[in-house]
Amino acid sequence: MQRDPLDRDQRIGLHADMLLIRAFEDRITQMAHEQGRLPGMQITCHGQEAVAAGVVRALTPRDVIVTNHRSHGHLLARGVDPGALLAEIMGRQGGLNHGKSGTLHLADPGRNVLMTSTVVGAGPLLAMGAAFAQHYRQEQGVTCVFFGDGAAAEGSVHEAMNLAAVWKLPVLFVCESNCWAGAQAHKEHCPIGEIAARAASYNMPGEMTDGNDVEGVHETARGFLEHCRSGKGPALMECRTYRMHGHGEHDQQQYVDKDELASWAGRDPIVRHAEVLRRDGLGEFMAGMLERADQAVDRAVAFADASPFPPPEEALDHLYVNPILREG
């Protein structure tokens, strides 16, 4: 299918998104190592920014996102406020989810980052249901779900793909194949090199893409989204990338081959895209971009730090729409 080539603003937008994600997460990494600064564990998508920026920028505002534990990139690319995001990560009142979620289940339904699950493999099922609603109401929307290569081992992912394909639901399954599931390398948990090859067994299109090439990811996502939007059912897009940090910031990566890590560092999606933009004479538009990203993060930190913790008793809120009162 022939699509309009990316215009200058789109290309620069992709770059700005990746820089913001990197700047935000670099700060998370730094804060994670300051004792007592951030509660719980911190999970970053360092090295995978091109997937988030490339796919999310291909969505329309009415399209819906379902994401997982490695979600900062998806949320920031969608335009979620970095201050509210960080405040949630810190468990503060001003956080996206009033401190109920914390870092692992960040969602912003107002921006159609509809649901997040940290139960590995749950996202595709949730997305299938959301896509059913879009299909049922004959909306033009697509549901895009991000899940990992490790998640593909869960039975739930099979059930989601099967039903979405049988009922031709508009789901874009995006597998972020970052070569790891915890400390398990791809070949230890997956018998085939490309999870995208499974698409054939559901009679849906599937393709492996270079997940560190932001413009390529974007193009591929646009193509698959057109497919989903045109009523032809789901599609599976696999993005080959690399988890540059450990599973979380506490993970020392003692099980990771140093040469492999170095070789992927040489394929950094942001460095690569900067070279492409410079090559195409767009270098000037990157001027000041890094500083602006850092300033946005500074503002986010200031906002989150100033936000108080929610009152303890408010732990009781938000469970039901119509609260149940119990005695005793």
């Binding site: 564990m41 401190g99 869960e154 915890g182 009152p311 732990a315």
Partner: protein, 328 residues
């Protein structure tokens, strides 16, 4: 006797069992190669020691992990599998509840399923999809046994009993205990029989029954009450199924007051079963109404002050006990 952490005690039991019986193997997510390098983790060093034939890292597939255990145990092996965190046991619930628990019964006693499922529990700043005390769910499935240690010696002794028990046993391990609770651990093949409670502290005024990490909260409360001249007997149940009803009843007959404590939510929690048992058997000896102390009926909130609000505290216990003393 050597002093060990709870995590080390679990590892010791696993190693000892594997040395004693070639039919025992371990399986689970990251139990061999882990993202954590921590000698207090229960499977630390076991892959190096026993090799990949007997220590199996699995894909992220909880249904497969427990299915593996059910199938292999029916063939006479003694699988010891790990479900990473308690909420993920729901993904394996079919294998555990519909199969491990029922297949022997369905066979008219012809088959047996000598499997052990170790599951990590506890509240640790990860929010409600990682923390959910579901022991009462499992206790409601006839056919399963449930052990729940509070200290290193019991962690070893209960696990060894579970592994060599001819029926399916779930052992709930509260993760924070792995490194916070140290104690003397008997050497060799030390077993704590399933269904035998332990009096963790003698007392004459009231009986508190509890299990797991809450035992330490109860002991703290008992210490504080002692200063006020109130003597609290603390029963560490150690196993929830079978329940040592006799020890609980004997203690209540002595003290005339009964309360329960757990980190799980209150409604239909394990405390309700205990309260009903005591009400049915000791009604005439009770000097005050039975009381239950538990988490409020909400999922585990993330925000640190709300997480603290969720977990029952020693102060709550002392307050309730004081109230019971005034009641009669």
């Amino acid at each position: 006797m050597p002093v060990k952490s709870t995590g080390q005690a679990v590892a010791e039991a696993l190693a000892l069992a594997m040395e004693m019986d070639e039919d025992i193997f371990l399986a689970g997510e990251g139990i061999g190669t882990s993202i954590h390098v921590n000698p207090h983790l229960p499977t630390f060093g076991l892959l190096e020691r026993f090799g990949p034939r007997r220590v199996r890292d699995t894909p992220v597939s909880e249904a497969a992990i427990v299915g593996l255990a059910v199938g292999a145990s029916c063939m006479g092996l003694k699988p010891v599998v790990e479900v990473m965190f308690f909420p993920f046991i729901t993904l394996a619930a079919d294998m555990l509840v519909n199969h491990a628990a029922k297949l022997r019964y369905l066979s008219g006693g012809l088959s047996s399923f000598p499997l052990t499922v170790r599951v990590k529990s506890g509240v640790f700043s990860a929010g409600c999809q990682h923390s959910h005390s579901l022991e009462a769910w499992l206790a409601h499935a006839p056919g399963l046994k449930i052990a729940y240690p509070s200290n290193p010696a019991d962690a070893k002794g209960l696990l060894l009993s579970a592994i060599f028990d001819p029926d399916p046993v779930v052992v709930v391990e509260e993760m924070p205990l792995y490194w916070t609770i140290h104690g003397e651990v008997p050497e060799g093949d030390y077993r704590v029989p399933l269904g035998q409670a332990r009096i963790a502290r003698q007392g004459g005024d009231a009986t508190l029954a509890t299990y797991g990490g809450a035992v330490h909260v109860a002991l703290q409360a008992a210490e504080a009450l002692q200063a006020e001249g109130i003597s609290l007997e603390v029963i560490d149940l150690r196993s929830l199924v079978p329940l040592d009803t006799a020890s609980v009843i004997a203690s209540v007959r002595k003290t005339g007051r009964f309360l329960t404590l757990h980190d799980a939510t209150r409604f239909c929690g394990y405390g309700a079963e205990l309260a009903a048992t005591v009400a049915e058997t000791c009604f005439d000896e009770l000097k005050a109404p039975v009381r239950r102390i538990a988490a409020p009926d909400i999922p585990v909130p993330f925000s640190p002050p709300q997480e603290a609000f969720y977990k029952p505290s020693a102060d709550q216990v002392t307050q309730v006990v004081r109230g019971m003393m005034h009641a009669g």
